[in-house]
Each structure stands twice: as C-alpha cells, then as structure tokens.
Symmetry: none
Subunit: 218 residues, 4 copies
DNA sequence: AATGAATGAGAGTTCATTCAT
DNA sequence: GATGAATGAACTCTCATTCAT
C-alpha cells in the first residue's frame, strides 16, 4: 500500500503527484508515462515519488479509482435533480459526456487498464453498473421502467455511453485539434440515443390502450 | 510498408509471424510483446522478422486490420441468413460474441490500439459501424426499423456488443479459468438485450395510432 | 570524526545506533544495510543518524573497532585464568569460538571490511596478532613455547581460529536453522586442533632426549 | 542458468566478459563492480552482457568457481611432483601463495562471497578441503602423517594458508604499491610455518622414545 | 531467405545525504 | 536534540533495431 504523508507538505506533494500522473497517463499512455515525466510534471524530484507510491502500477490504480469516484459523483449529482428515471438517465449521460470532455484521462486510462491493472478496470465498470442497477431497480418499482434484468440494462446503458463518449466527444475533440471550446455531444445525437433507450426500457403499455407511449419523455 | 515475400517459403514465414503476433499481443499486451517473443512463438529467427515487417507497430496494425476483417466477415455471414433485420441483428451479435470467445485477442488488441495505433483503432470501429449502417438503412427502407439516424443506432449497437462481450464472455472466461469449454452468452441475457434493442428500434405503430410520436422532443 | 553527544539522552541515542548498526550490518551486509534500516532498528528518526555519525562508513568502522575490542577482551579474560600457555591458548580459542557463536556479526562484518574499510580490517587482525604475540613471547621466555617467530605463530593460530569458527560454528548454525541452542565447537575437534598446535609449538625436548626430532622431515 | 553462445564469436565474447568480471570484482568489489564497468573493461556493449549472463550474481558465481578450479589445479600440480606428504604440503602452499600473488582476485572475491553468494563460497572452501583430505588420508596410510582427523587437519592448513596469503602476499603488495615484482612469501616465514605444520602433523615417534607427548592436554 | 550477436537509450528503482522545521 | 521530506546520481536490466555472416 502506498505510504501516507505525515505532514501537510507531504500531503500536498502526494496530491500533486496524483494530478500529474493523471495528466501524463492520459496524454502519453501507461507505458510511455515514465516516472520521470510524472515527477517533472509535478515539479518535484524523481526520488520523491517513491516516498508516496510503491511504483508506477500503484499510482495508476489510484488514479483509476480516483477518476472512477469522480465520474460517478458527477453522474449521480446530475441524476439526483431529475424527475423521472428517464430524465435521470439523460442527465446522467450528459454528465458522463461532460466529464469525458473535461477529463479525457478517464477514457484513455480505463482502456489502458485492460492490461495494466485488470482488477482496477473491473472495479471501475462494476462500480458504475452498481449505480445504474440501483437507479433502475428503484424506477422499476415505481413502474417507470419495464421489468428487465437491471444488470443487463445497466451494461447496455454503459456500453452505449462508452462508445458515444469515444465517438462524439473524444474523436470530435481530436478532429478539432487541441484548442477550442469543450466538445458537447450534439443534441440531435443525444435525443436519438435517449429515444432508443426510452423505448427499450419503457414499461409495456396497458394491453388495451397504448396511445401515448412516449408521453412522459422530456 | 511491409515487404511482401517473393517465395512460397517467405509467404509461409510471414503468415506464421502474423499468427504469432496475434497470440503474443493478446496474451502479453503490446508493450510486453517483444519481437523476440513473437519470433520465438513463430519458430523463426529474430532477424527474419525485419524482412517482412518494418517494426513492431507495423505488424500490430496489420494484426488489427486482420482481426477486424475476420470479425466483420463472421458477423455478416451470420446475418446474411437471417430473415428480418432484428433476426439479423441477433445473429450478428451471436457471431460477434462467438468470435470474442474464440479470439479474445480481438478485444484486448483493439483496446491496446487506443494508444499504440489510434488510426487502426478508429478504422476498426468505423468499419463495423459501416456494416451496421448498411444493414440498418436497408431495414429502414423495408420498414423494419424506425427512422432513427442509422449511424447513431449503429454506435449504440456496437457499444452494447462491446461491453457485453467484455462482461459476459471475457470476464466469464477469466473467472472460469484457463481450461473449459467455450463461453457462450447466456440465452437469457441475449434475450433481454435483444428485447431492449428491438423495442428501441422497432418501427412506430401505424400512423393512425401514434401520429406524433417524436414530435415533442427538442 | 563522529560527533560526541553532549547529553545523557544523546549518549543513549548514539549507543542505540551502534547496536542497531551491528545487527543490521551482520544480517544484511554492508551494502544492503541502509541508514533507514539502521535508524528504524534503533527506533529513531532518519536525520538523527547524522547528528552522531558522519556517514555509513564511519559507523561501520566504529562497529568493527567495537567488536574487535570485545572479542579481544573475551579472549584475554579467558586466557588469564589458564595455567600454561597451551592451556591459555585453548581457553582463548574457546572464548573466540563462543564469541563467534554469540556474535556472528564479528565474522560477517570483518569479512565485509575487506572492501568497505581495509584499514579497519587490518587494525582488527593486527590487534589480535599483537595479543597473541604478547602471550607467545612471554611463554617463550618461560620455556613453554619453542623459539619460533611469535608473529608467524600468531598468524598461524589466528588463521586456524578464523576458519574453524567459520566451519564449526557459523556453518553449523546455518545448517541447524535459526532457533536452537548456541553452537559449540565439538570437543573432539577442539582436541585435535589443540593437539596440532601443541605439537607445532611445543619446545624442543632437552638435547639429550631429541636425537631425531626432525629426522623424518624432507 | 547462463546462456551458452552458439557461435565462435559468442564464445569469445563470453570469455572476455568473465575475464573482465574477475578483474573488476577484484579491484572494485562486488557492489561497486557495475555491469557497465565490466562491459567497458571487456570492450563490449552493455546489453551484450545479458546475452550471456542472467545478472551480476550469476557471473560472480561463475568467476568464483573458475578461480576455485584454477587455484586447485595450481596446488595439485605443484604437489604432484613432491616426494613426501610434507614436501607436497610445502609445494602446495607455495603454489597457493604464488597464485594469490598473481590473482589477488581469488582472495578478494572469495571474501566477498560471504554475503554475495554463500553457496559459492562454501563450495570453494569445501573443494579445497576435499583436496587436502585426499592427500592427508593417503599420507596417513603411508605413515607420513599422524592419525589426526584429516578434515580437521585440512581446515587447519587452509586457515593458515588463508591468513598467510593475506598477511604476507596481499598486504605486502599493497604496502609496496602497484608496480613492482611479484611478491613472494619470505623463505624464513614459509620455513617457520612449515615447521609448525610438520611438527603438528608428524607421526608420533616410536612409543619408547616419546611416551607422554600428548599427556598434558585435556 | 535466414540468422543471432551486438548495441545503447531509456526504463524503474534505491539510498546516502541534506536541510527546513 | 530530533525529525522526515526531498533529492538525483547511479544502479540493474530490457528490447527494438542493425548488420555481418
């Protein structure tokens, strides 16, 4: 386990290392992210790194967990204010895409984790699924979502989010070049996506009358 | 560009290198996949590698493109025999999951490509999307799929496929250990997934019943 | 030169450092004995070390000199009560072996000194030789030891002691494992050794008695 | 295990590495003998080292075993031509001292082995003891050596040789400075030493002549 | 066409030592 | 008197690539 600092100065140093590592892992990738680069980015000496982390892998894991906590926080915060489950879903997606735009590190780092730290990667996805399942199960009890297996639905939602984030945030950002305003997912695309999700998860209409299948949305 | 062999013997050597590279990249990851490992796996001399490939990156790209072609072939072959578009989708997913189970390399290698060869990764996803868009557009003309933007729908399908492959094929395989029969996606899970997709993409009911289904959304 | 403590507390700290250093040098070897390990073993802060010692080499030298003084003390104490020189020799050997068993540090540290601090090593051997020479010269005057060059005899005695200590104390201890009672040199071995020494150093018999003492040799 | 070269060039390279390692270990000590120094001394590239040796420890072990074989060869060769056992002993010692003078590496490296490779060190001493025991046992059967435990006698001889080599060869050489002719052990010293050994191991005279030689020792 | 010996830049990591607190 | 955060030179080791055979 990584050593905890015992002084305020140490705490600051450790935090700077984590922030630097996030940046370097995101821009250079795990393997090209040398400890030297991380410490230079953090503005501290090379040896200092090893006062706080046992090695590269360890700080990587911590960065993954940190990003995971932050993205989940952003998503649940956004969803909290929504009315229906579908509004919550839309708000959660928006928050996720926004986080992706602001922290491309999340994306790139999670994918790296495939080989670098499978356990951390799994933790990441499972944490998010857990959030989704929690929300979906509640919505099902309220009759807002049809009784599909919430875990299956959660993976479906997360899969769509993952690739839309890649396609409509990261690729756009790359194509536009480094500078420029934050990329947002186009409303049109988000609408289409939410339409698919909504219809996919909407409760079955009462057998006789299903006149307003989409009435609740928005 | 990689040199093409001029003799039958050379052709065989090159093919062995590609097969070995796929295996080594999948099991060790790009960075730990040394040229020595690849040539040892292929049973040829180290120097020989450079007769056929300019370097590690180049053979990686070729492995990506090769896997991409094979998985698309498997998917379209499976879909070709299906009746409706949704049956085709189901068959395509099945084929994709089967391919994932048989070639975990696909998965692991594509994710690696994020940093190793972004262009190859993008090519991979875009190729698959193109297939989907092709099929969806045709289905829309036939009235089998509602008029969503086929590209958006394609990314949604691919996203779900990607994470379901990870969750229900790769993770299962890991949890079960090395030996054992090929992992299949549980029918129950595939049914639930296809249900969501079907409802999400199903054409709107007859105009008389639902005149303005999407009208409200911004 | 190392700083001398000015308070009782400082004296205690310095002593703890020396004791810790002896232990760590003996178990880990000079190079793997980091200052951190020594200060941890001593239960004091890292920086405190440099209040009392100029560096690693200096504390090493002091440990060597300390062990040297202690082993010589043990040997002369033991020899002091003996009757004849040969009895004194036997008692001295016993004491040396006992010290070796109780302080394997002596051995390991002296051998390390070969490169780490040749001067300290030389001091160690010369100090012991001086003791031996002193005793042998006195015994020669008393007619108990034949008139060999006492320094040559001293080195011979010390050489035997050194390797017997290694072979019959340290190796035995290693072979028996960590726990267990203190290893003693077997009486049989000590008897044989003392027999060789005794005959080697015994005074020539009275001229009348020794008609053919050396007759066999060469 | 260290890789064996497959070509003549490789064989030459490996031999140069071993020779360079012997020199560097002897002059700098194990810990200060970096792989860089060894390869520079050998005149080859750093990376080449790892084609032939798994690491520093491995080449060290091989150097120890190599030196051990050579010193034993020198000793047995010298002893082979001698007449009596005691002449053989004297010739063996001479050869040992000569080898020590020509290859101070032996000495310094064996002492290092205490921590670096205890197994190799033990192998070294046991090999030499075995030689001695072999010779002593034969001499005992011939009545040239008294019936002491040959192993005890062997350790005694080796102990004396070890410290005389240090005192009269290495220290002399150091005191005389780098240049200069090879140091030889002074005849006077060797004579005194052999006298002690001779008397120590000489067979007991006919009972009538020396009735109570061992009576005093307990 | 095929080989494997050779290379050296660059990686992760350690640790004696300094110094502000 | 005591501390521990900070440092960077120096270490061992890896590996993509070159080239003589």
């Amino acid at each position: 386990m990584s050593a905890q600092p015992r002084t305020a100065r140490g705490t600051r140093t450790r935090a700077r290392l984590l922030a630097a590592a996030e940046e370097v892992f995101a821009s250079a990738g795990y393997h090209d992210a040398s400890i030297v680069k991380i410490t230079e980015q953090a503005g501290i000496g090379l040896g200092t790194f090893y006062l706080y982390f046992a090695g590269k892998q360890e700080i990587f894991d911590e960065v993954v967990d940190d990003l995971n906590a932050r993205v989940r926080h952003a998503m649940t915060e956004a969803a909290r204010t929504a009315g229906t489950r579908l509004e919550a879903e839309r708000a959660g997606f928006r928050a996720f895409f926004r986080f992706t735009a602001e922290h491309p590190a999340l994306y790139r780092i999670i994918r790296q984790a495939e080989f670098v730290s499978p356990a951390a990667q799994r933790r990441h996805y499972e944490n998010i699924v857990r959030s989704y399942v929690h929300g979906l199960a509640a919505a099902q009890e309220a009759g807002e979502v049809r009784p599909v297996d919430p875990e299956v639905a959660a993976w479906a939602l997360m899969g769509m989010g993952e690739l839309f984030g890649m396609r409509y945030i990261l690729w756009e950002a790359e194509d536009r070049g480094a500078g420029g305003p934050r990329v947002e997912i186009p409303d049109r695309v988000l609408d289409e996506l939410m339409g698919i999700i909504q219809r996919g998860l909407a409760p079955a209409p009462a057998p006789a009358d299903r006149p307003r299948e989409d009435a609740s949305h928005e």
